[in-house]
Symmetry: D2
Subunit: 495 residues, 4 copies
C-alpha cells in the first residue's frame, strides 16, 4: 500500500502537496517523495521517515513548481531503502511518475526493458512502468510531445502492465504542464480527483482526505481504465483507454482507507456502517446475546457503532489507544508484538468486568495480535467474550497491493476442515467454531461474503475472501510474488 498526490495549478503547489501527503500518511510511513517541474528542470527530493520529519521549509523551497507529485511509501520489504522511494523520473521526454498498487508481471516488464536496454535504479514496480511509458512516448514523437501522443503511449503501456495500479504522472505536453492520472481497467486501487479553491488548479490523490486538508472540491473518481488529463485553467479531459468489469478493492473499505475518504462514489465511513449493520444481523441470526459492544480502535469504531445501534446495545470505548506508537499493520518484528500491543491498547476494565462483551474488529489476517488481545480482554473479567468481524475469513493472498501475506501465513485456512471447500455450505460455521475454540472465545462471528457484498452494494474485488482475482494473474506470477514476499521476513500484518 502506498499513497500519492498530484497537483497542477497556476502557481507553486509543492507546499500543498506536502501538506496533503500528511493526510495519506496512514498509507505508508517508510519514506516520502516530492517531484516537480520547474523551468524545464525536474527537481526531486526523497526522504526516509514520516512526511513531517523529512519535508520542511528547505525541502519545499528546493522543489518549486506549478505541477508537483508526491508519494508516501509502505515498507513492504525490510527497513526502507531510500532508492525505492517514489516518485521516479525519466529524462526523456521528462516524466515524473508515482503510483499505488502492485504489478503482477514485474519480471516480464524487467525482461522487456532489458531487451530495450533500459535499466533501473530500484526494486520499485512503478519504475518499469515509467520507462515503458516514456519509451512509448518517444516512439511517437521525438520532441514537442502532444497530448494525443501521451494518450496513445499510455494505451500501449497498459498492454504491457498487469495487476492493480493507480498512476499519477507529471510532464509537459503541448508546451503545458500536464498532470495525468490512470487507473487499472478493474479500478482495483483508488484514485480520486478534485478542483482547487482557486478554480484554476486540479488535484488527484489516492484518497479524498488528501483533498479535504486543502479545501479542494472533491469531483469524483478516475474511472477504471480511464486516463484523466489535468491542466491549470482548463477542464479535465477524460479518455477511457480500456474497459473491464470494475472491481475496486473491498479491503480498502474494510481496513486500509481512512473512514473519512470517499472512493468509487462511496463513503468508506458509510460502508463501514453498512458492514456493521450486516454483521449485527449475522450475529442476531445466531441467537447470541451480549451486554455491550466494544470496538478495537481505531478502525472498527464506525462498524461497532452500527452494530450497537442495530442490537440496541451500548457502544463503549473499551480500549484506549496510545497515540504515540505506530500502527500494528506497519510495525516491524512480529515477536515484539505482545509488548507493543500492551503499550498500544489499554482496556477500560469497567466496560468488560462482569459483562458479556461483543468485541468488533475489521478482519483477521495472520491472527498474531488477536491472541494477545483476547488475553487482555479475558483479564478484565468479562463473563463472556464474543468476537464479531465485519468481513469474511481471509482465505487467499492479495497480489494487488494489500500486504496480505502468502497463503501459509493466513490464519483462517487452517481452520477449514480438510476436504471442505470454502464455498461449501457450513464451511464458514466450521471455521468460526474451530477458530473460536482455539482463541478461547465464546463465539466468533464473521460477516459472510454475501452479507459483505450486499453491504458494499456494487462490484468489488474480494479476492482475499473468494479467490477470484479480477486482473490477469497466472501461476508463474503468483509464485514469483510469493517468493518475493517470503524474502521479506520483516513484513507484518496486523491481527
Amino acid at each position: 500500500m502506498c499513497g500519492f498526490v498530484g497537483i497542477v495549478d497556476g502557481k507553486n503547489c509543492s507546499r500543498d502537496v506536502v501538506l496533503s501527503l500528511q493526510a495519506l500518511q496512514h498509507r505508508g510511513q517508510d519514506s516520502a517523495g516530492l517531484g516537480t517541474i520547474n523551468h524545464g528542470q525536474f527537481p526531486l527530493v526523497k526522504r526516509l521517515g514520516l512526511v513531517h520529519q523529512g519535508f520542511g521549509a528547505a525541502e519545499i523551497e528546493q522543489t518549486p513548481g506549478n505541477i508537483c507529485i508526491g508519494h508516501v511509501r509502505y515498507p513492504t520489504v525490510g527497513a526502507g531503502v531510500l532508492r525505492d522511494a517514489q516518485p521516479f523520473f525519466f529524462r526523456q521526454p521528462g516524466v515524473l511518475m508515482a503510483h499505488n498498487g502492485n504489478l503482477t508481471n514485474l519480471r516480464e516488464m524487467h525482461d522487456e526493458l532489458a531487451e530495450n536496454s533500459v535499466h533501473l535504479m530500484s526494486s520499485c514496480d512503478v519504475e518499469p512502468v515509467l520507462c515503458i511509458f516514456s519509451l512509448e512516448l518517444m516512439k511517437r514523437r521525438r520532441r514537442d510531445h502532444r497530448l494525443e501522443d501521451a494518450v496513445e503511449a499510455m494505451k500501449t503501456t497498459m498492454e504491457h502492465i498487469q495487476g492493480a495500479y493507480s498512476l499519477v504522472v507529471a510532464l509537459v505536453l503541448d508546451g503545458q504542464e500536464t498532470l495525468l492520472a490512470l487507473r487499472d481497467p478493474q479500478g482495483i486501487r483508488p484514485a480520486v480527483w478534485g478542483q482547487l479553491p482557486d478554480k484554476q488548479g486540479w488535484m488527484v490523490a489516492s484518497e479524498s482526505v488528501a483533498m479535504d486538508v486543502l479545501s479542494v472540491k472533491r469531483c469524483g473518481d478516475v474511472a477504471p481504465g480511464e486516463l484523466m488529463v489535468f491542466r491549470a485553467g482548463s477542464e479535465p479531459i477524460r479518455h477511457q483507454l480500456k474497459t473491464a468489469s470494475p472491481s475496486p478493492c473491498i479491503f480498502e473499505y474494510i481496513y486500509f482507507a481512512r473512514p473519512d475518504s470517499h472512493m468509487n462514489g462511496k463513503s468508506v465511513y458509510s460502508k463501514r456502517l453498512a458492514m456493521g449493520q450486516a454483521l449485527a444481523d449475522a450475529w442476531r441470526a445466531k441467537g447470541l446475546e451480549a451486554d455491550v459492544v466494544i470496538p478495537i480502535p481505531d478502525t472498527a469504531r464506525p462498524a461497532a457503532a452500527a452494530v450497537a445501534e442495530r442490537l440496541h446495545l451500548p457502544n463503549r470505548e473499551g480500549f484506549i489507544k496510545n497515540r504515540y506508537t505506530g500502527r500494528t499493520f506497519i510495525m516491524p518484528k512480529a515477536d515484539q508484538r505482545a509488548d507493543a500491543l500492551k503499550l498500544k491498547l489499554n482496556p477500560i476494565r469497567s466496560e468488560f468486568a462482569g459483562r458479556r462483551v461483543l468485541v468488533v474488529d475489521d478482519s483477521i489476517v495472520r491472527g498474531a495480535t488477536l491472541k494477545h488481545t483476547i488475553e487482555i480482554i479475558r483479564a478484565q473479567g468479562p463473563t463472556q467474550v464474543h468476537l464479531a468481524i465485519y468481513s469474511p475469513p481471509v482465505l487467499h493472498p492479495c497480489y494487488y497491493g494489500i500486504d496480505i501475506s502468502t497463503k501459509e501465513e493466513l490464519a483462517a485456512p487452517r481452520f477449514l476442515p480438510e476436504g471442505l471447500a470454502a464455498t461449501d455450505p457450513g464451511a464458514l460455521q466450521q471455521i468460526e467454531q474451530a477458530f473460536a475454540s482455539r482463541l478461547g472465545l465464546d463465539s466468533l462471528t464473521y460477516l459472510p461474503l454475501d452479507g459483505l457484498r450486499a453491504a458494499f452494494d456494487g462490484p468489488a474485488c474480494a479476492a482475499c475472501f473468494d479467490g477470484l482475482y479480477p486482473a490477469p494473474l497466472d501461476e508463474k506470477q503468483r509464485s514469483w510474488i510469493a517468493e518475493d514476499r517470503r524474502k521479506s521476513d520483516q513484513r507484518t500484518l496486523g491481527i
Copy 2:
C-alpha cells in the same frame, strides 16, 4: 503538565521505566529523562523529543539500575531546553528527583536557597525542592542516612514549598535503594502506586496507565500529604506528613489524564461517563432537541457516548482524527492553528448534513480552535449546531500545573456581563447565550459546576471554574506566575 515514573526492584528496571514513560507521553512531549542508582553512581540521561526517539538500547544500557526514575516534560516555555528536563540530581547525599505540578513559591525558594548558597542549573521548579530536601537530609545526619531522616527532611521540606506537586525520589537509605513518593497536602496532582509482577518490586507513576503497560498491579494512590517509601522485597511504608482537605485536580478527569487511568480511587473513564450523563441532563432541561451526538475526538468520546445513551440519540464518529500530527494542547504557534486543525480533524459529512447535531467537547479555554471547528461543522450542512461542554466555563487561571493561561487569555470571562458575578444566578446562562451568539451556534450548553461536582462525587480542586484555590497562594505569587506565563508567547492551549 508532566509525567513521572519510579521503579525499585530486585533487578535492573531502566528498560521498564522507558517503556512505561511512553504510556505517559500525552503528559509531555518536549523532553524525557532517566536517572538510576548504580553501584553508588547516579547515571542520568536526558533527551529532547519523544521517549521512543531519544531512548534506545544504548541509552538504556548506559543507565542500568535496580532503582530508576523517569520523566516526560510538557513544554510550558518555548522550544524546550535540555537543561530544564527532569530528573535532577543532588550529589549530597545522592538524591534523584522528578515531579509533576507547579510550585507557587518558586521565587521564595530561590531566595532561600541563594541564602544557603545553593545554586541551580535550570528554571525547572523541582530543582529547588530537590535542593531543600537534600540539605535537610544532610542537616539531620552527615552520612548513613536512615529512613527516619528522610521522613523528617521531607516533612520540613513541605514547609518550604507551596503549590501542587507529586514527587518521586530515588536515594539510598539504611543502605537500601529507596524510592520515595510524596504528594502535596491537597493531593492536587495525581500519584499512583503498584506492585510489580515479580512481587518484589514497586512502582509509582503519575497515572496508572504507566503501570498497565508493565502488567504492574495497581494498588492505590499516594494519599494527599503522604510520603510513601518503597523498597524491593518489602511492603511499602506510609507516612502521613501533612493533612489538609483533599482537592485533586478535576481538570485531570475532564481533559488531561488518559481515560484508562485511575487516580484518587476513581476511574477517569467512569467520571467522563458521569459528566456526560450530567451534561445530558443539563441539555434536556433546556428542552433542546438533536438528531445525533458527535464527539470531538479523542477526549470527548466517553462523555459523548454517555450523552447519547441518556438522550437515546445515535452517537457517531463525525470527525476523523489524523493520528500523524501532534496534540493541539501541545502544538506551537497559535496562528497556524487553522491549518493544523484541518490536517488533524476531518468531518464525515453524512453525519452532519441535514441534521441537528449535538457536538460534545471537554472544555473551552482560549476558544481559539473552536471558531475554526465550528466553521468546519457549518460547512457540512447541518440544520442546527449545538455544542455541549462537559465542564463549566473556565473563568480563572490555574496556578497548579495545568497550562490554563492568564485570565486575559481565557474566553469565557469575556462573555460575563459587567457587574454580574460568576456565581450569580443567571450568570451561566448569560455566558452561554453571548458565547453561542459569537460562535454562531444554535446553542451552547456548559455542564454547571454543581453538576460537575455531583458527577465527580468527591472533593476536588475546581479553581479554574470557581476561583477557589485550595493551596496557599498570595497575590505576589499570582502576579509572578502570570508574568512568567506572559513571557512565553509560544504556549498554546486547545479549546
Copy 3:
C-alpha cells in the same frame, strides 16, 4: 573543482571506492556520491557532507557492484543541494557518469537537449553530457550495445561539449561491465589510471593519491582527447578520439592537487620544488636578503623547502595550522575570514621576531586573507617582511573548473597601471611594487610566467595568468559563466 573515482573489478568494489574518495576529499567537501551496477540495477547513493560522515557500512552494503564510480563535489554554489551531487544515471541504456571540470557551453547543451525533449534534475553540468552520450549510444543500436557503439557515441558527444572535463562512465557493453574514462582534447583536468593489486581490476581517478590508498599500481594518464576502456581481467583499450595541443591546468600543480599526486607524467611535488627553485632565482635576482624562509602551510611547504635550499637559508615552520578547521579555499562567508584565519594559522613568534622573513605562498587570487596574514606576521616583530609567490599574478578568471572568480574580484589586476598591458615589460614589477605597498610588505616577488613555464617544463593551460584559453570559449559563454558566478556570493577563494 571536484574529484572522481571509478573501479571495475572481478569482485565487489564499492568499499574501495569509498575509501579512495576520502583521499580526494580535498577536491570537494560539499557532497559525495556512489553508483554501481548490480544485476542489471543501478543503485545510487548520494549524501551531503564529507565521505566519512555520509558513507558507512550501511551505504556500502546497499550499493554493491563489481563496477562502481564515486564523486566528491566542491560547493561552487551556496550551501550544497543534494540533487546536484554526482554521479548521475540515465536509464537507457543504463549509464552512470561523474566528472571533474567545467563545461563552457552548458546553455547550448541545455537548448539542444530541450530540443530532443530530454530533461534534467539538476544544475550539474555533467548531467547534459550524460544525456547526450546516452542518446548517441541509443541512436547507434537499440540494445546489446557494443564497445564500438560507445566509442562512436563518445566521439560524437565530444563534438557537443566544450570546456574542460575528465569523465568517468560505468555501463554494460558487449555484455560486460565496462568503465570508460574520457579526457577533454586539451587534457585540462587530470585523469589517471592504474591496476588493482589483484591484477584483475582497474581504476581511474582524478588524482593518483586515490590509487595509493588502495595500493593500486599507477599506470599513467588518460591522454588528452583519449577514451580509455577498462574491463576486469583484460588489458585496457585506448582510443584517441580527438587531438589538440595538450594544456593541462597548471594551477593543479600550484595549489589544487595534493603534492603526493602524479598527473600528466609529472609529480606535483617535484613541480612545486622546481617552482620554488625558480622563485628563489627570481628573488635572488632582485638582490634582496632574508634570514629565514617560512611557508604558509600546508600548500607552500615543498616550494619553500626548495627556496630555502637554493638560498641557503633555514626553512622553518613559522605557522602552525589547526587541523580541526576547514580549508580556506572551501570555507563560506568572506566576512568571517579574519576570525577563521586566526583559528587556523598560528605563528611561532621566535621564527619571526627580529628577523628578515621571507614568507612563501602559492598564489594570490582575491587577496582577502592575505591582508590578515600579513597583520599577524607584523605582530610577531620581524624586521622585514618579504612575500614570495611561486606563481605569477592571477589576472584572468578561470572558465575550466578552478574557482577563480570573475575578473572584478581578482586582486592583481587592480595594481596594473592603466594603459599598461600585463605583457608589457615592467608590468610585473609595477604590480609587485604597488601591491607590496598596499599590503605593507617590504617586497613582493611573483614567479614570472616564463619562470613558471620553465619550471613546469611542458605545455600547460595558464589562462588565469596569461589569458590564453586553450579550449573554445566565446564571449557569450564567458558572460554566462560570469553571470552564474555572480549569483553565488557565497563562493570563496583563499588568498
Copy 4:
C-alpha cells in the same frame, strides 16, 4: 589528555570560550562542554563530538555568562559517554570545575566521598575533586563565601588529591564572579593565563594557543602548587598553596602539545628544535650517513628541521598527510591501523628512492603503527632507512594523564636484554640494535635521556623514560590504574 579554558570578563564570554576550545581540539575529540554562571544559575551544555559540530549559535545563546569554563575530552575509555564530559557542577555553593590530568588516588577519594554521603554521576576524575572542594568551602562558611574561604578550601582539597592536575573553577566569591586556576604541586600538567584585549578580562587554558585565537595576551603560567584568582577588572591574585620540586611533563613538549604553545615559560616549538639538535648530535656520534631528512608529519617537523640543519642535509616533506582523517593517537581499534595509516600518510617516492633516508619521529610507545610505516618507506626504494627518535625509549607507563599504556604494551622494554637495567651503560644501544633489527631498519637512534634533559634545560617529569614518578604513587594505585586501563581495550596510542 584533555584541554580546558576559563574566561572571566565584564561581558558575555561563552562564544569566546567555544572559539578557543577549538584551538585545543588536539587535546580531546570525544566530547566538549561549556558551563557558565548567569544570574545565579549555572547553565551547562555538553555534547559528544568535535567542538564545531556540537556548539553552534543555539548552544552559545543558551549558555550566556560573564564567566565561562569549557573543556574538550580525550576518550580514554571506549566510545565516549556524555555523562563523563566536563565541566561538572556542584550546587552548593555553586561551583563549576574542569581539569586536565589524572588523579592517582581516585578510589580513595571515592571512598572518602561515600563516607560523607556524596555521590557521583560519572567516572570522570574531576567530579570527586569538585565535591571535596565544594564540601570544604561549605564547611568554612555556609553562605556569602569569601575568597579566603576558597583559598583554604582549595588548600585542604589538595591534601586529598594525588596525581597530576590542572584545574579551572568558576564560582561566586565576595559577590563577584571568580575564576580559579590550580596546578598540582609538581606542575605536571600545564596551565597558562593571560589578559583579554579589553584589559578587563582574564583567561586560563591548558595551552597558550587557546589564547592566541582570541588575541589574548599571554602572561605566564600558573605556577606548580599555585592557586590563581581572576576577576574582571582587577589584577589576578596568586596563592602558593603547596611547594614541591616542579616537574612539568616532558612528553607534552615531545608530542602532545601544539608546537605553537608556550608552557612553563618554554616554547614547545623551541624545545622541539633543541631536541632535534641533540638528536642530530647523537646520530652524528654514531658515524652514520644519510642523504635526506624526512619527518613523520605533523609532530616531528620542527625537530626534523633542526636535525637537517645540524647535519647539513636537505629536509624534505617525504610524507603527505590527509587532513580529512583523525589523529592516530586518538583513533579507535588498533586492528584497522594499517588501513587507516595508508589513508593518512602517503609517501613522496622521489624523496626516498635511491637515497639513504633519515626518518625523524617523536617517540615510540606501542610501535604498532611503526611497522606499517617502515613497510611503506621500504616500498619507495630507499637504499638505507635510518630512524631517529627525538626522545628516549618509553620504558614505563604514565600515571599522570598521558595515555601511555600499561607496561606490557610498551614496545621498548621487550628489547632490553634480560638482566640488564635500563640505566646500565649499553642498555640504550642494545635496545636500539634489537629493535632496529626487528623493524628491518638500517639503524635506530634514540635521543638519550641526558640529551633530552639537556635540550629541555629545566626540571621535568620524565617518568615514562626513567620510571621516577614525582607525585606520590603507591603500588596499590598503580595496579588500580593499570586495571582500569586494561578494561578499556579500545584505547590506542600511536606508534
